[in-house]
């Protein structure tokens, strides 16, 4: 203990400047985070200026982890584990005590201030911190496992800050390369190896590196472990059977199972146009779908779409699984699926009639815990959500603060005819039964999200649930508006297939957006 305390004290004396900067940045983060909770500040986020919430938020979000990493790397490298000239190698240091001193330093100057700040932020936001002890500890654990552990591991295999920065550059290049490779592997952005497998691998290698360095100082072996981890992730990315995983996670409906809703491919819409000019090398297509049979208690999230096209000449194209971000509500009659084709391929297929297949991977939710509330003038508590406010404005939004994490699944529903905001000039009120919905989801089931602040800030945007309606949603959400809040519960996941034979792809092509400048009309083509 004497040795641990001795090393810790020495590090405190040496690195007090770095520790002070890190604490000051953390305080600045806290101050700015509190500012961001105010809706006015939040809305003004886009306005520039050195002291604007947006600017400071971006700055502190970036600088706080950097200052922590800098501090931890400096402290670890104070007794560098790489090299053969350090005085401490031939002094009576015991590796366990040296490591303990470094870990205690990191806990004292990273975790403790963060925990204090988090308790303060929860109180300031109006939540009782003692109710969220597990979540707060979870946040600390996440910081240790996914921030401190890799930082310490990196610091133990590098001799100086310059070497650490070079290592970070290599890691950044590796990540860019992996991201580029992932775009070339179909379905890799939709499914993949489980997060827990990757996390275990990552944490295991970090621990192995740290122990190898402190016990044996075998830098070559430790660096080899890191390269091995990078290679293992690369192999997982390339060799994962994505389609098998999708088929296992979203199985086909079994023979006796009743389909909870019906989707059908509709004829092409002639007036549809691309939202943005497509890339010259690609052609954007849109397939309209009809929706029927979805019960009033049900909601569907389309998790993935796979499109295949078979041309008469034997040519086959496959989009790979993509996440379309489509929600289906009971009152909805139709929806659309967008995808892009390489121009050359499109030109080859457009003149002939092709067979089109859509595979839809979805999750069926049952609406649950419905409760109605009337939007008050001031802030209000939404049960199982947090503290919210709805102020008049152009965008119909409810701004919420939640302790530790955004709620898992949350649905807001309102009858647009009961909107209390005054109608604009020339606008007609919505008819009864026309619904607006707002959806929020947070897939994780952990007690808290990884981050610095324990107060999750999120917005619930209300939009017409029937995409074809063109009516405006009034001026935001005004006091007196009745809203139904519910927490949909996922029931099951399945996959269905839709087929349309003999279709002409050209009919489903989105028209390029036409931009008009004076008398000159230009298109993207």
């Amino acid at each position: 203990m004497n040795q641990i305390w001795n090393i810790f004290r020495k590090d405190c004396r040496h690195y007090w400047r770095e520790a002070s900067v890190s604490l000051a940045l953390l305080a600045a983060f806290g101050w700015n985070d509190v500012r961001g909770w105010t809706r006015g500040e939040y809305l003004a986020a886009g306005i520039g200026g050195l002291f604007s919430y947006n600017f400071l938020s971006g700055l502190t979000d970036f600088l706080v982890p950097i200052s922590w990493a800098f501090l931890v790397v400096r402290v670890i490298q104070g007794e560098s584990l790489v090299g053969d000239r350090q005085f401490w190698l031939t002094r009576p240091y015991e590796w366990k005590k040296l490591l303990a001193a470094k870990v205690i330093f990191s806990l004292v100057f990273v975790n403790c201030p963060l925990l204090i700040l988090d308790v303060f932020l929860l109180s300031k936001a109006g939540f009782t911190p003692t109710k969220y002890v597990i979540g707060l500890l979870w946040m600390q654990l996440m910081i240790v496992l996914f921030f401190l552990l890799p930082t310490i591991a990196l610091a133990t295999v590098t001799a100086s800050l310059v070497q650490t920065l070079l290592a970070l550059l290599f890691i950044a290049l590796y990540l860019v390369g992996m991201a580029a490779l992932a775009t070339q592997i179909p379905s890799s952005d939709f499914s993949g190896p489980s997060d827990s497998l990757l996390a275990s691998l990552f944490i295991g290698v970090c621990l192995a590196v740290i122990l190898t360095q402190y016990v044996r100082r075998n830098t070559f072996k430790s660096r080899l472990l890191i390269v091995g981890l990078a290679a293992a992730i690369l192999i997982l990315l390339v060799a994962t059977p994505y389609r098998v995983l999708v088929a296992r996670e979203w199985p086909q409906l079994s023979a006796g199972q009743q389909q909870p809703f019906q989707l059908g491919i509709l004829p092409a819409e002639t007036s549809a146009s691309a939202i943005a000019p497509p890339d010259e090398k690609e052609v954007e297509l849109q397939v309209p779908l009809s929706l029927t049979g979805l019960s009033s208690e049900s909601i569907v999230i389309v998790n993935g779409i796979l499109v295949t096209i078979d041309a008469p000449d034997g040519l086959r194209w496959d989009s790979g699984w993509k996440s379309p971000g489509i929600f289906l509500f009971p009152e909805q009659k139709n929806t659309r699926v967008d995808f892009t084709l390489k121009r050359k391929l499109f030109e080859r297929m457009q003149s002939s009639r092709v067979n089109l297949r859509l595979y839809v991977a979805f999750t069926l939710f049952r609406d649950k815990d419905r409760r109605q509330f009337v939007v008050p003038r001031d802030k209000f508590v939404l049960s199982n959500v947090g503290l919210c406010s709805a102020e008049p404005g152009y965008v119909p939004t409810i701004h919420c603060l939640a302790p530790l994490r955004q709620p898992s699944f949350l649905l807001l529903t309102t009858d647009m005819s009961a909107y209390t905001c005054p109608l604009g000039k020339g606008e007609s009120p919505a008819s009864a039964g026309e619904l607006a919905r707002g959806w929020s989801q947070n897939r994780g089931s952990e007690p808290a999200e990884l981050g610095i602040s324990p107060v999750a800030t999120f917005n619930l945007y209300l939009a017409h649930s029937n995409g074809s309606s063109n009516k405006r949603l009034g001026d935001g959400i005004c006091p007196g508006t009745a809203i139904v809040l519910s927490n949909p519960e996922p029931l099951f996941r399945n996959q269905i297939a839709l087929q349309a034979d003999g279709v002409r792809l050209a009919e489903y092509r989105l028209q390029p957006l036409r931009l008009t400048f004076g008398n000159v009309q230009s298109t993207s083509q």
Binding site: H14, D84, R91
Partner: protein, 299 residues
């Protein structure tokens, strides 16, 4: 007598370079052992293996009865190590450095620390990074002596130091020699000769000899043979004779296994009648030079 250091067939390779080639070294307890040899001979590598800074490729090294690869914090409470290229915490003031080290050593002697500070005339309020090279070496040595180490390992401690500082360092060492084994590598042969009890000569990763200084001094002689007429040099000279050369009727060589009777007999056998024979004792420096030159010629 026990051995403070013992190695057997020690091999160290750095990729393709073989720094040590089967080194067998024994340093008796309570000796002052000087390891000498030309640059690149492998002296620092031996020391770093002994101090568990480098791992061995092959072979075995033992320090104070424990394998060098197993030396840990506890063993270093009785080992003092000073190296010319050791990195000290330059940001620390000297007094803080000693304050920091003190709790690591159960046998730390505050009085001895003060004596050493005084003896080496060390400025306690100065940062280590601001000290001159000589001062830094003295500070390092003081920090390695103040806990009464059983083994003191010094890697080129005198390199680049002025004579006064060298003298102070040697004085400081000698005053503690009775309680410790000292293992020192150095180029400063004249200084080493004045206090080493044993000497080992390392060349190309192999120990050419390792013995007591007195035995070494008795073994080496500079031999000068004077002839009436310049003699032809024999085609084959004994392997113990080094640097054999002849000029104007005088033959010079270094005898590395001197025994007056045997050497005289060998001279007569090879040269016949010699007008005059002289055997001059050699300094460690002369022995080192003769060994080094012979080694280079053999290469």
């Amino acid at each position: 007598m026990n051995n403070a250091i013992h190695t057997e067939n020690l091999v160290k390779r750095f990729r393709k370079v073989e720094a040590l080639r089967g080194l067998n070294l024994t340093v008796p307890e309570d000796s002052i052992y000087a390891l000498v040899g030309p640059n690149g001979a492998g002296k620092t590598t031996v020391i770093k293996i002994l101090m568990n800074i480098f791992k061995t490729t092959l072979g075995y090294a033992e320090v104070m009865g424990r394998r060098s690869g197993e030396l840990n914090g506890r063993q270093f409470t009785s080992i003092g190590y000073v190296s010319e290229n050791q990195e000290l915490p330059e940001w620390m003031r000297l007094d803080r450095f000693f304050d920091f080290l003190r709790p690591f050593y159960p046998s730390w002697d505050r009085d001895l620390e003060r004596d050493l500070m005084r003896q080496f005339d060390l400025p306690v309020d100065r940062k280590l990074g601001k000290l001159s090279r000589g001062m830094r070496m003295k500070a390092a040595l003081a920090s390695a002596l103040a806990f009464h180490p059983k083994l003191i390992v010094l890697d080129e401690p005198f390199t680049g130091l002025d004579p006064l500082v060298r003298d102070e360092l040697i004085q400081g060492l000698l005053e503690r020699a009775e309680e410790s084994t000292i293992f020192i590598s150095s180029h400063d042969l004249a200084e080493i000769e004045s206090f080493a009890s044993h000497v080992g000569y390392l060349e190309q990763g192999q120990l050419r000899f390792s013995e007591e200084m007195t035995v070494l001094a008795d073994r080496f002689r500079e031999v000068e043979l004077t002839f009436e007429t310049p003699p032809p040099l024999p085609a084959k000279v004994p392997v113990e004779w080094m640097q054999v050369n002849c000029s104007a009727g005088v033959v010079h060589f270094v005898e590395s296994r001197f025994d007056q009777e045997k050497t005289n007999a060998r001279i007569r056998e090879l040269f016949g009648e010699v007008r005059n024979v002289t055997f001059a004792p050699m300094s460690l420096r002369s022995i080192f030079l003769a060994m080094a030159r012979t080694g280079r010629e053999e290469q």
